[in-house]
Symmetry: C2
Subunit: 597 residues, 2 copies
């Protein structure tokens, strides 16, 4: 596996030119996050990711995790040391509230930092990643005493957190959760039940693990309205804040998975003995709401993983393509074999990877900035507006960036040819690792249903309408930019027209028709939004070029990737409008029996 190099130049460009980091840093809570400080921070984090974390990626995949007979789990060699160094450096705390020992940087900066860690080692990065979800939940829904007891250690990374939703019979259908929580005279609850697919549910990185567990109290209404959320620490916490008695939580087994093998995916049994002691978070029966408030961040984090793996796969494929010589490229001197990067078809793969990665980064980062503004802007109306935008963008970030991440990782194998299929090369690991991202934190089908069923109807469709108008508004700028961006302008106009057509059609389709078109609609919506961000990227790069502000080759490359994305990748997405507006007829024309024939 090739070395990892943090893509700081593009990150900086996106933060500055598309996400208005400057503006964010003028908001009071982020006053210290001026772009220069952020640049230094990310540069340092990039070095840490490359030097400390990235070398653990392939060995971690090869060694995997081991569960021992006593229920303990050993992570791969090197994971503990890298994690300890991460905690020591304070990387986990950068984007959290200073009130809980966080660094107080915007979530946008945390997102950048998380990209670096996830590129370096996706499986490893899930330990801090899951903790972030737990932190957000306790921050927003925990009682003061809970925040004080758990947040400093979670923010510092001394402890990790987990999210316990899934049960064998409750996957996408979270409302089917059966784990029970019985109130006790001392105010705690006794938790009994089995949770599956719990990432880092048991491990050897930290002395304690704080499980957030969805469960049902006695007499709770059925479905998701009867679910409550509990904190169940692996070790109960003493009054002085140190870990105390072992709680009744056992790792029964870990899964043998396609990828992210360095991340232990646990079956956790709560209350095999006397019942696990849990603390209610927030109000009874409001557990799903608590989960939902952190879902934007969690889903965005998974979209970011798609981007992150793609970036790593791309770096490795490019390094190979520059090195490996086969055949003679057109126009190359006779008698000399060319690096395969000189062959047009290999270039197409590489440019598809690169343009897709840049598009993903722009979408995810802009989404992260929207969340920051939704939380921290002083004007509540502006906060509300950005909250709506963030909610609209989140399913796009999650589903499109993971589907695209998988495609990019697969292209990374293809660039390698036969060697890509050999595990030692490391290219195949990226595909295996990426493949989970389309599934967890709500499958991509669930994201599409969320987009069509929950997000489109917000304010009678006004949020979507505003978004489409925002995209349309770039047309005048593209027109003014002249012939270089004429292709971008044309393809974006056509794609936007297709998206508008699809968007107007969906509310007329009836519920089944809308559900039937949800997945192609999400892809179309994402590609148009990404195309628009790429167009803005090209405009910003041209503006900088005109002012002689920045590295010319780098800025020129932003125009090239935007053109490639809009002129060559976007038009195929435009054709998805037919699938969106086809309705449910074909899908349900065959009985399951006939599907088998």
């Amino acid at each position: 596996m090739a070395d990892y190099r943090a893509p700081l130049a593009d990150i900086d460009f996106v933060l500055t030119e598309l996400c208005d980091l400057e503006g964010l840093s003028r908001l009071e809570p982020f006053a210290h996050a001026d772009p220069a400080v952020v640049r230094d921070l990310l540069s340092e984090a990039g070095r840490f990711a490359a030097e400390v974390v990235a070398p653990t990626n392939q060995p971690g995949d090869q060694a995997g995790c081991v569960r021992h007979a006593d229920g303990t789990v050993t992570t791969p060699p090197g994971f503990r040391e890298a994690y300890q160094a991460y905690v020591d450096a304070g990387w986990g705390s950068v984007a959290f509230d200073p009130a809980h020992q966080g660094g107080g940087f915007p979530g946008l900066v945390g997102t950048s930092l998380n990209e670096l860690m996830a590129s370096a080692n996706l499986a490893w990065s899930m330990a801090p990643g899951l903790s972030h979800g737990a932190i957000h939940l306790i921050e927003h829904h925990g009682a003061e005493a809970q925040r004080e007891r758990y947040l400093p250690k979670l923010v510092s990374g001394e402890w990790t957190g987990t999210m316990n939703l899934t049960e064998p019979d409750a996957g996408s259908d979270v409302g089917a959760v059966r784990t029970r929580a019985v109130p006790q005279p001392d105010g705690t609850y006794r938790i009994t039940g089995t949770k599956i697919f719990i990432s880092f549910g048991e491990h050897d990185l930290t002395e304690n693990i704080i499980h957030l567990v969805l469960a049902r109290t006695p007499g709770a209404p059925p479905g998701s309205k009867g679910i409550s959320c509990f904190i169940v620490p692996k070790h109960r916490v003493n009054r002085d804040g140190t870990p105390g008695a072992r709680n009744d939580v056992t790792c029964l087994s870990i899964e043998h998975k396609l990828g992210i093998k360095g991340s232990p995916t646990c079956v956790l049994a709560f209350g095999e003995g006397d019942g696990a002691v849990g603390e209610l978070v927030g109000e009874e029966h409001r557990g799903m709401e608590a989960m939902f408030t952190m879902m934007n961040q969690a889903r965005l984090a998974v979209g970011l993983q798609g981007l992150a793996v793609a970036e790593r796969a791309y770096q490795q494929a490019l390094a190979y393509a520059v090195e490996r010589r086969q055949g003679r490229a057109l126009g190359a001197p006779g008698g000399e074999r060319s690096p395969i990067v000189e062959h047009a078809d290999v270039r197409r793969m590489l440019l598809t990877m690169k343009a897709s990665i840049e598009a993903m980064r722009r979408l995810v980062y802009w989404n992260a900035a929207a969340i920051d503004l939704s939380l921290r802007h002083p004007d509540p109306l502006v906060r509300e507006e950005w909250a709506e935008i963030a909610a609209l963008l989140t399913p796009l970030s999650k589903a499109w960036c993971t589907d695209t991440g998988i495609e990019v990782a697969s292209l990374g194998i293809q660039v390698h040819g036969g060697v890509g299929y050999i595990e030692e090369t490391g290219a195949a690991q990226h595909l295996r690792d990426a493949r989970i991202t389309a599934i967890y934190e709500g499958t991509n089908g669930i994201q599409a249903i969320d987009l069509v069923g929950r997000k489109l109807p917000v304010r009678g469709g006004a949020v979507v309408k505003d978004h489409l108008e925002r995209i349309g508004a770039v047309d005048a700028e593209l027109a003014a930019a002249g012939p270089e961006l004429a292709g971008v302008r044309n393809e974006l106009r056509e794609a936007l027209a297709a998206l508008v057509e699809a968007t107007l059609w969906l509310p007329t389709a009836g519920p089944q028709g809308a559900l039937a078109g949800a997945t192609p609609y999400l892809k179309l919506f994402s590609m148009v939004t990404a195309g628009w961000l790429m167009a803005r990227s090209a405009l910003a790069a041209r503006a900088r070029l005109e002012h002689g502000d920045g590295d010319e080759a780098f800025l020129r490359s932003k125009v090239v990737t935007a053109r490639f994305f809009c002129e060559q990748l976007l038009p195929a997405a435009t054709g998805l409008v037919a699938a969106v507006t086809a309705g449910a007829e074909h899908l349900f024309a065959l009985d399951p029996d006939d599907l088998a024939a």
Copy 2:
């Protein structure tokens, strides 16, 4: 992993309605292959594949192959027994020349049979599959004595064959082969060199292995014009036909791969000692030509693998979707959880899989029929015409069916949700197995270059023109079919227009421009051809329905899948014309250094 059930109804439909098996069986060499006999044969083969081969698939993946210190290789448990049963039943010989103890059935029937075996166990099926390539080569280029010595045992399957092209420095660039072949006074050659990625290069299924090896004789011209082809048996063959002395061929190692783990991928050293004894096949320096004559079949066989794995993945996903209950589907009774097959988005995945599989099967089988006609039709002009069609179709079958097979296998994981990511489920194996098919036997990029660079120019473009006219000619039939197929007609017309536009553009693009557009062109070309075959399939099904000839639900399903394919999947492909005709400018706008930025 779910059981496998041979898709005999669709196979029979394709053979009868699209490939004119009836007409083929009227050709003299195939007189005994009337459709009823073929139906019985495939039904029996389907049972064999399901009962004997399919159960070895997942255990074979889990156990993998083992190379021992003495260079021998053990295949997974059950492989030997299944292979012996295959030989005993004579399945390997069905489509070969009766002169060499073959069954004399058309290659089309052999293709159907191979689909069943590859669905049952892709890795295992490579042993007979590679033998087929060796048989074709020796049949067409071997001397009489070589045919007599090797073919009966290869045809029966008592021995297997291998193809030895690749070396560490000669992959896609086969002309770079460095293995040496030095003539000896006795007419044999001494072969020395190292070959990599040799599937079933060493194994325990048979007492002998016949290696076909590309090598360079002393003073041979550089590049592919100096390559000769040799037979290098693992055991030299005694006069009585029994295996004799061990030849100087050693398996140095086997690869640790992403998938097809039951297939040992060997590094073979020829001539570590005195030199391996080889026999020249055909003329010196004509080795590449010999390889090329069998390449249509070999590449078609890999396209078939894409289809075969997709079929298996689909069967497993459908079985899960019918069984697994999550949530309540629209319109389902209250209080009841629905099988996920009732959710529109899951239906979309399943129908995408099913329609893609049917489209692949139609393309590959029609391609196989074209090869039969190109070899066996009595009229040399007709043979020539079909040879051109087969040559045109082959890169489509190979590249599009493998890319699509990978997509279908990935969808199969997605249908399973989290469980799909767990190896025990077996869904992930299909993706891992399928992933190689886009790489070996000429990467899909090489196929696209073959299509654009070699196949389009044939007879001044007349072959392609005829093909496009053939597709256009279905329009009148679709028009006559009325409103049910109006959508199919419209989308096929639009897609064909895009393909015509791209086809006319390519010769004007210059060599680099044509190479730059090759991959999207191949996809567009394949989708239009597949859409046309699906349209013909729907027309044939409607005709049968009108005559009350056949299972009504089955025939209706052919109309549904054709409509889904043409109305929902084809339009996105139409959008690829932009990428085809974009030229090479974007691809080469960035230096490799800037690609990294």
